[in-house]
Symmetry: C2
Subunit: 159 residues, 2 copies
């Protein structure tokens, strides 16, 4: 879990570290678009792997220990990756079309970082459950789903 | 490197393990679309992290050891994740609009798996170089770029 603390932590500190900046120190329009696309891609991979686990948990797909483990491994891996490069200031839903990330993520008192760490913990727990059997997988789904919604409820703009 | 052999290896074997199947044993239209979207998201994250390294290597962004290491860690992590769930038969460029994955990927004699493993090795090598200094990062870029193009040349449909 060596990457755990990097998940979103340090977003504001690292911010545009790897990003080409304009003369005034702001990220370019392209850099902001690239960051948004990468962030949405990351979310899409969460969704895909969560969907695979959910389908098995609900009985929509047959339980397959290897596939469940692979999906849980992927989720935990993604949740523990550094996302600092994507969460650039200036990519919130007020600033960019297509962004559903509320400005509150970047505001003082934001709990987004803490929620991201909590989600990574839930995903890591699921990693130890998913490959055991269907019942054990089912037992871990609520905590994982709650980990998603905790952040989405407060920090994702409704459609 | 424990995930190395899972990268694409076993695509045909595992195929739709975690996917809801129709009565005839084929993946549903939605499952195929979800797989394509996840695959493209994965590629988009490759591109984002490679772009961060490339910008520094070319001098378009200042060298930042922590950001370079984070991008290289992400690339290696992604390259070593299980992608078996995405590479479903029936998601090639002949079968699906928006797919640029040539049918040859799934055909006998395909080198896609081997190229994917080679790319994961190049990304893992970059992981040991990127955070050292700019010159060392630059020295690793060609192998990484070659790893991308090796697969794109033979297995990605031109635009």
């Amino acid at each position: 879990m060596k990457h755990l603390t990097r998940t979103i932590i340090g977003v504001l500190a690292i911010s545009a570290g790897a990003t080409a900046l304009l003369a005034d120190g702001h990220a370019s329009e392209k850099a902001l678009k690239d960051a948004l696309k990468a962030r949405q891609s990351h979310m899409s991979l969460y969704s895909f792997n969560l969907g695979a686990l959910g389908a098995m948990a609900k009985g929509d797909a047959p339980y397959d220990a290897a596939a469940a483990q692979a999906a849980a491994d992927n989720l935990a891996t993604l949740a523990n990756m550094s996302q600092a490069g994507y969460w650039l200031p200036g990519t919130d839903s007020d600033a960019m079309e297509g962004s559903r990330s509320l400005p509150a993520i970047w505001e003082e008192g934001s709990k987004a970082q803490a929620l991201s760490v909590a989600f990574a913990e839930a995903a890591t727990t699921m990693q130890s459950l998913a490959g055991t059997d269907l019942e054990t997988l089912q037992g871990g789904m609520k905590a994982l789903g709650d980990g998603c919604s905790a952040c989405h409820e407060d920090y994702r703009k409704p459609r």
